[in-house]
């Protein structure tokens, strides 16, 4: 059963690469959060109630509900709808991103297979690495801060999945670290972002370069 969720997770990364609407991105983030909860529930053998509660809060509540709602709120307030502009359509960005996702996925599986380690679940690991790499690629090729935040959360999801790949239990430390990361990134960036758009009326990170010393 977990493989179905993993697969859906991989497909959601594919979906990321062709989406244009900010709403769809945010919905996908929420979807990934729910998926992660289900994967963790099935994948982890040794779960205490405390752990379940913590993971539920982290994935379902934060990743699944709070962050998407918060981001949607920001998007609405700043009137951001489309992330890709017309120029990107002409460049067929989505097309290459799909190709990139598939090839990254296949390569990670091949590399994961080379590890030949019984303790590591390859399907978890390769999907996780795909998520991390694709998140990085999304950040590299996009200018808007909004998508930087979203991609960052995709990377966080990948890291979460990677932690699941390694062992039967989720180390408490990793959990807290991820949660802290989320706080710092999303909340601070959100506030920062709210203030910025107030000044620049544009969410392109180009404007930020004018702030440098």
């Amino acid at each position: 059963m977990d493989s179905l969720f993993i697969l859906l997770f991989a497909v959601s990364i594919l979906y990321f690469s062709i989406s244009v609407n900010i709403k769809r991105y945010i919905m996908l983030l929420g979807f990934q959060g729910v998926l992660l909860f289900l994967i963790a529930l099935i994948g982890l053998d040794e779960l205490s109630y405390f752990n379940i509660g913590f993971i539920a809060v982290e994935t379902l509540v934060f990743k699944g509900i709070l962050i998407p709602v918060y981001l949607l709120n920001i998007a609405k307030r700043n009137k951001i709808t489309n992330i890709n502009n017309f120029k990107n359509h002409r460049k067929m960005k989505g097309f290459y991103l799909i190709l990139a996702t598939i090839s990254v996925f296949i390569i990670t599986i091949i590399l994961g297979n080379l590890l030949k380690n019984d303790f590591i679940k390859i399907k978890y690991l390769s999907t996780a690495i795909t998520a991390v790499i694709m998140g990085l690629i999304f950040i590299v090729i996009n200018k808007t801060i909004t998508i930087h935040i979203i991609s960052f959360i995709v990377i966080e999801n990948g890291v979460f999945l990677m932690a699941l790949a390694v062992g039967n239990e989720m180390p408490f430390l990793i959990n807290t670290a991820i949660l802290l990361d989320l706080f710092v990134s999303v909340l601070v960036l959100g506030i920062f972002f709210n203030k910025l758009t107030y000044h620049f009326q544009d969410d392109s990170s180009d404007a930020l370069s004018s702030l440098k010393d």
């Binding site: 460049k91 067929m92 097309f95 290459y96 296949i106 599986i109 091949i110 297979n113």
Partner: protein, 667 residues
């Protein structure tokens, strides 16, 4: 056989005594003798299963020169002879228009070289001793060069010819290096010597030693075959050559590279993963690259040349499956891969020569190869259109013709691997399935474009409008490959037996006759027959039904605007490829030259608009390397002072250096 070949070799020199017309028939006679003798032995070897061996020259320098026909050579001999036959028949009328503008001697030379090419091709597959092999290999390259530059009054033809010659000699160097390596290691200067090679387990750059040895041969034979990135000569030399020579080169000569690789791989003692992966990967890339380049190409013969690269890729995929199957100990996978590759060699020689002859017919009657200035030729040249259509369907790998059969075998090898319980092999084969599926789809895209734009619609230029059908002898030359294309498509089982008998020795445990695939091929043949007959019946019924009804003829629907110019309003090859060009932008750049309006240009002057496609890989990867090389070579040219005493000085320095180094025990 040796005496006949020697006699023919002497007789061919008399060609230069005849008039050009007589010379054609004289060479034809010699060719016939050659074809019959060699084919007779080839058929005998294939039917009896025994190798044929004959000593040609007792001692040729330090080796005996032995003519040896095993089953692999026999298969190649038949392919060579058949393609040479059609090519030679086609040549007579194809060269006729040149009679007015060219001297007699160039015709004599052409026929002479044609014979030499045929002879050397045959000897290449018969001789396994390296010295003789290298000799006939060189004769093959040189005679092909002479054939390519038939239209030598055109500067671009000479230029293409020289490029071809240079690349062939780079290849030659690598092949020599490979053989010398074998000689140094085993003392046997032949293909057989590879069997005795032993590789230590040393790794160079993390890759086993044997791979680097294979790479020598791969580069040497790969340039001949046209694997990516060694393909550069193919799209240059093919359009420059006369069409029957393009057909011959593409159908047979580039297969000599494949032949060499097969010989090396069959004799290879230590096939390992790196070799298989390399061959498989580069073949997939070659296939996809070739067909993608073909789509954005609008020169008909260049398009076909790129398709040769694609088909080399498909053959390479088959060989890669063969090697990988062996590496992972899946004999069935391996056998199907090899069988598919061998059958595809036969198939490609058939439909590619047919396509080149058709393209040549179009060229000789319209004097243009640009797809964008042709059109509507099906009404003027129905037979040419029909033959091109057969070739197009066959090369796209679509049933009921032969292209499908060989792809079917390779596909089956790939799918066979999914039954194995392992992870790596299916993962690798996945790429093969995706690659082949993509190549098939792209080939369909490309050949609907080529056929549709050249033969259908309205003629785009007066040249195309006044074209006439070609002469009967050329039609006959094209009918021969069509016959085999259809018969391989409808009776695949016999050709399956043919190619599997070649590899039977390699896979003694497999009973090829009892494999389910033999059954499948039988069904495919019957289904193809049913498809063709039911099509005939149904089409007749349709025509009978239509007969009783009112049939009207009118203009093509023009969106309510009936005065549109039928010529300019149709789709062009460039626009057909446009949406593909957009998604393949990282590889190819569609460049359009247009002049923007000047500031004070109130009444615009007439303008022309032109588009052409650039190969980005060539521009960004190959050209910078070549340019750097040129810069360095130019720096070396300092030595070229032009003074005779300097030139004498260099060998003197060299001799002194050698002596000094020997004395000091450095070398």
């Amino acid at each position: 056989m040796a005496t006949i070949i020697a006699a023919l070799f002497l007789l061919i020199w008399f060609t230069f005594l005849f008039s050009s017309k007589l010379a054609y028939w004289f060479v034809f006679l010699l060719e016939l003798t050659l074809w019959f003798t060699t084919s007779y032995f080839a058929v005998k070897v294939l039917s009896s299963g025994l190798e044929y061996q004959e000593i040609f020259i007792d001692k040729f320098y330090f080796q005996p020169l032995i003519l040896k026909i095993d089953k692999l050579s026999a298969l190649f001999i038949l392919v060579i002879n058949f393609t040479c036959l059609t090519s030679y028949i086609y040549a007579r009328k194809y060269l006729e228009p040149y009679q007015k503008i060219k001297q007699k001697f160039s015709f004599l030379l052409h026929y002479f070289n044609f014979f030499m090419l045929n002879l050397s091709l045959l000897l290449v597959v018969m001789i396994q001793q390296a010295l003789g092999f290298l000799l006939v290999w060189e004769i093959m390259s040189l005679s092909a060069f002479m054939l390519v530059i038939f239209e030598s009054e055109k500067p671009e033809v000479i230029k293409s010819g020289i490029k071809y010659l240079v690349q062939m000699h780079i290849a030659y160097f690598f092949i020599i290096a490979g053989f010398v390596y074998v000689f140094a290691a085993t003392g046997d200067f032949s293909f057989e010597g590879i069997k005795a090679m032993t590789f230590n387990s040393a790794f160079v750059l993390g890759i086993p030693n044997s791979f680097w040895f294979f790479l020598l041969f791969f580069i040497g034979f790969g340039i001949k075959a046209g694997f990516f990135p060694l393909h550069a000569w193919l799209p240059i030399a093919h359009p420059a050559a006369p069409s029957h020579i393009s057909g011959l080169m593409s159908g047979v000569m580039i297969k000599m590279g494949i032949y060499g690789l097969i010989r090396v791989l069959f004799n290879f003692p230590d096939l390992n993963l790196s070799i298989g992966l390399f061959l498989f990967g580069i073949s997939i890339f070659t296939g996809i690259f070739g067909v993608m380049s073909a789509i954005v190409q609008h020169d008909l013969k260049k398009l076909l040349a790129y398709h040769s690269i694609e088909n080399i890729g498909i053959i390479g995929i088959g060989m890669g499956v063969g090697v990988l199957g062996q590496v992972y100990h899946q004999p069935l996978v391996s056998a199907l891969g090899w069988a598919g590759a061998l059958l595809h060699i036969v198939n490609h020689s058939l439909f590619k020569s047919l396509l080149f002859y058709s393209a040549g017919s179009v060229y000789i009657k319209t004097h243009t190869r640009d797809i964008n200035s042709l059109g509507g030729l099906i009404k003027k040249m129905p037979f040419t259109a029909f033959s091109f259509l057969i070739g197009a369907v066959a090369i796209s790998g679509i049933p009921p013709f032969n292209g499908f059969i060989s792809e079917f075998l390779i596909y089956n090898g790939l799918f066979q691997s999914f039954k194995a319980v392992s992870l790596e092999l299916p993962l690798l084969m996945l790429f093969g399935v995706l690659g082949l599926a993509l190549i098939g789809g792209l080939a369909l895209f490309c050949f609907t474009k080529a056929f549709g734009m050249v033969f259908l619609g309205t003629a785009r230029t007066p040249n195309a409008e006044h074209a006439i059908e070609i002469e009967p002898s050329m039609r006959f030359a094209k009918a021969l490959p069509i016959f085999w294309i259809v018969s391989i498509g409808l009776l695949p089982i016999y050709f399956y037996q043919l190619v599997t008998s070649v590899i039977q020795d390699k896979f003694p445990d497999i009973a090829f006759q009892n494999l389910p695939i033999a059954n499948a091929l039988h069904s495919i043949g019957i289904l193809g027959l049913i498809l063709i007959t039911s099509f005939g019946v149904f089409f007749v019924i349709r025509n009978l039904i239509l007969k009783g009804k009112q049939i009207k003829f009118g203009q093509t629907w023009g969106c309510g605007y009936q005065y549109a110019d039928a010529i300019t309003n149709q789709y062009t090859a460039t626009s057909f490829a446009a949406n593909f060009a957009r998604i393949s932008k990282p590889l190819f750049h569609d460049k359009s030259d247009n002049i923007s309006y000047g500031e004070n240009e109130i009444f615009p002057i007439p303008r022309a608009f032109k588009t052409h496609t650039e190969d980005k890989i060539e521009n960004t990867v190959i050209m910078p390397i070549a340019n750097t090389l040129i810069v360095w070579v130019k720096k070396l040219a300092v030595l070229q002072t032009g003074k005779i005493q300097d030139y004498i000085m260099y060998p003197l320095i060299f001799i002194i250096l050698i002596v000094l180094l020997t004395i000091t025990n450095i070398i």
